[in-house]
């Protein structure tokens, strides 16, 4: 079995079989992570560049670890994007990296579409590690893996993504992936944070968090950006916390079992209270562990394709 594409640019149009294959392969790799010697020789001799144009500690470390566990040669290339107009163009940077004979590029960039653009100017396998507010496919895969691990399936599971949907790459990838796997997806957040045309993707948009808790099996809670620019979409952190924050009281009030995911890093006391973040419903740290296994699966499946 192998994947149908050479790259993982997003979850858009990724067939069900591919997702299934990645999730199943990840089970094997998760087992590797529990061994005393956490390394397999699968990608020995392969060179993978982690090209990060945007600060990201956890995604980069997760990829780097996944690469090392697979015995690939991992290179980190962090580029400051403080000045886009000055310095080397993206294309020239890529040409230079390629000249050093690499096999795969894991790319994180603040601009949407860069992974796709990369496939146009490079021969390497490309994995999107997050592009602008577009997609973050490995996050969606690890979220799906974590849900499936807990609930045994994805088909028919009701998942609500909560928070700033309009400015989240996690939301879009989750919507595509989950829908392909037969889950029922909705989004919940202030109306200013829900894209105007989102329902055309076949997801329900709601603005009442209690309704979201009552009607779903899973809540995937997104991080609320606290920077000033993002803040123009809601009146205050206090108001957001009161009307959309997930608290123990709110979960108890609606009195039902629910699975809580969060891609991290969490803002305790804003989108999620400490009790919930450390509580019995959440699987936030499982997600982090699963992230390494899922990324190993993606790297392995793409890296051994040729």
């Amino acid at each position: 079995m192998s994947l149908s594409g050479r790259h993982l640019l997003g979850m858009y149009n990724v067939p069900k079989n591919d997702i299934q294959l990645i999730l199943d392969t990840a089970i094997t790799f998760k087992e590797v992570l529990d061994r005393p010697i956490k390394r397999v020789p699968t990608l020995q001799g392969k060179t993978i560049v982690n090209l990060f144009y945007e600060n990201s500690t956890r995604t980069r470390i997760s990829f780097e670890l996944a690469e090392k566990r697979l015995s690939a040669d991992a290179l980190n290339f962090s580029v400051s994007t403080s000045s886009v107009s000055k310095g080397e163009s993206f294309k020239d940077t890529i040409k230079n990296i390629e000249a050093m004979k690499v096999d795969m590029i894991v790319v994180r960039h603040a601009a949407a579409g860069v992974p796709y653009y990369l496939t146009q100017i490079s021969d390497s396998n490309v994995i999107n590690a997050g592009d602008g507010i577009h997609e973050h496919p490995t996050q969606a895969l690890l979220d799906m893996y974590s849900i499936r691990e807990k609930l045994g399936k994805l088909e028919g599971i009701k998942v609500c993504i909560v928070g700033d949907i309009a400015h989240s790459r996690v939301a879009l990838s989750n919507i595509y992936g989950l829908k392909t796997m037969g889950a029922e997806v909705s989004v919940c957040g202030p109306s200013t944070m829900i894209p105007k045309f989102i329902e055309e993707l076949g997801v329900k948009a709601i603005h009442n968090i209690d309704e979201a808790i009552q009607e779903n099996d899973v809540l995937n809670i997104l991080r609320i950006q606290l920077e000033r620019k993002a803040r123009e979409y809601f009146p205050s952190i206090r108001e957001y916390q009161r009307y959309f924050g997930i608290t123990e009281a709110r979960l108890n009030k609606n009195g039902k079992d629910i699975l809580i995911l969060h891609p991290g890093p969490i803002n305790r006391g804003v989108e999620i209270s400490s009790e919930v973040a450390d509580g019995p419903y959440q699987i936030i740290l499982n997600q982090v562990t699963n992230g390494v296994a899922v990324r190993m699966a993606v790297l392995y499946l793409l890296g051994t394709q040729n």
């Binding site: 858009y12 886009v84 163009s89 993206f90 294309k91 960039h109 603040a110 601009a111 949407a112 579409g113 860069v114 796709y116 653009y117 592009d131 602008g132 507010i133 577009h134 997609e135 309009a166 790459r169 879009l172 894209p195 105007k196 045309f197 989102i198 055309e200 993707l201």
Partner: protein
Amino acid sequence: MKIVLKNIILFNPEQKLNKKSNLLIIDGVINKIGNLSNDDLKNARVFDLNDMYCVPGLFDMHVHLREPGREDEETVTTGCNAAASGGFTGVACMPNTEPSIDSAEVVTLIKERAKDHLVDVFPIAAATVGRKGDVLSPMAELIDAGAVGFSDDGVAIKTARILKTALEYSKMFDVPIIEHCEDETLAGGSMNESINSTKLGLPPLPSVAEDLIVARDIMMAEYTGGRVHIAHISTKKSVELVRQAKAKGLKVTSEVTPHHFHMTDDLVSTYNTNTKMNPPLRTQKDVDAIIDALKDGTIDCIASDHAPHSLEEKEMEFEYAPNGIVGLETQLGLALTELYHRNILTIEQLVEKLSINPRKILNLSVPKFEVGEKANITIIDTEHVWSVDIKKFKSISKNSPFHNRLLKGKAIAVINNDKMLFNDELIK
């Protein structure tokens, strides 16, 4: 120079002229129309243009020639060469140069650079100094130097206050204020706000950003009695607003680009930076509304918004790439292919929108086919099928999404200022 055009269809809606005839042009002036004698043919360059349309020279009222400032992307000369190759004998160039066209000196420089060319260049000067929206440009002086309209193109005139002043002041000269309609507080997106911007994760630019300024400008035109021309109209709502304004008898006109009359934001799907423009490509509903508006005359003109950009500027991340495409050399072909051959516009309507109306809006005389008149002519072969090749563009810049596109209809020749370009060859 003595030129004979044989068996052409003399076609000029302004003169209600539509007949097969022959034309003798001597030293750039129409000498004889109709049957020509052997004497007339003597020492003449004779072109037998069986059943091709001979129309008043086409005019593009919205081009960016980049001179002064970005001569690496286009100059007045190369822009004129591109215009002639595309079938145009006149262009109006926009003031967002470096420095901007806000002084008589810059107008004079451009006029000087265009001198002796087949194509006539008419500068649109900045409405405010530096296009900054604070201080009115020296309009009287600019008009004396050769400016034919005012615009802060690239952006809308910044405030209602300075717009009001600009419209009141420009009324003295009966010239239009040409507006790039975009609310600056809603600006900054990379593509039209739609399901596509959500799917592609690109920062959205909502259509209401255009509609708001169109509404503001129309109200201000009504209040002041000044003239407003809406540049590159792109939304359904804007079109409705202009239609209402015209019904009221206000001095409001509009233009549309070839890309906005036939392309939608679906085409952005591969992050091709040649689908990035401002206003952005919109939805099919908007395109449908534009087609209706072209038919009923709500949209007066077709203009290219020819926007040359260097390769290195366009070869980059979509969000960071500059807006705009070159259009002078594909505009007529696209109009014929997408509007004429699809029976949306008649040849008469096309000539009005590509030649007559833009000249009228800018108070320029429309070329006539009469003995003693200056020959300002475009010869159109509506049936000529050709493939766009950006390598053959006369424009320095090649940023076009139409490379390899098959088009039906082309300008075979242009004549103006006692010069003739035939099949891209200067006739001497």
